[in-house]
Amino acid sequence: MSNHVKIADLKHYVKKEKVTNPTIPLFVPMDQAGDMLEGGKKVPVHTAHTYTRGDKMEELVVDPGRTGGLASGYIGYFYAIVSFILVVLTYNVSLYLAAVFAYAFGYYWSQRMLAPFWNITWFKGKMLYYTK
């Protein structure tokens, strides 16, 4: 009788567990006595910051206009639609006026595409601790 075991047989003994909390890196500098000076005295490196949920949600969602929140994207989307309608409406009235609204459309469409990046998409995988 050989000791050879098929992998297919072992599968019955392996308990399948879904990993819900994978290890997420938190940057902790090893050398705290470095050049991090504040007012002439050495301070620990500011690795993590404490917020309330409301403050952080407000920063991420509510603040309008080039702050990198979701609202910038939604508001940009709304004004892009409004600008596009105004382009169509003013095209036969004045071409120069339509050009202004076309510029506004391009600006707000780029806001709608890019705004969620600065504060949300690029920091998606960063560590967050919350109180239970």
Partner: protein, 98 residues
Amino acid sequence: MIEHDPGVRTSMVFADMKRPMLGASTRWDYFSKHLVVWKEHVRFRTYAIILALLGVYLIFAQPVIGIVSLGFATFFYQKHQHALARTLKSHRTIIIGH
């Protein structure tokens, strides 16, 4: 006297607590979990405003439906307040690492 960082405060420690006091997550997972509630807050606020305006009109035109409409307006206003308290007015602490 040791000068502490203003963010560091004295607190109690529950050593015999069975469950952990802190949970770990990523920013996106935590944010997207509460974004649903924030969208609820916007939606319920819209319902409340529309139903209130409709109720004021209907209370003269169709009084029975008007009263029902105003009732639902207050109901959605409470739902809106609740969603707001869970997101933007929440004082639950989170720690964000860089």
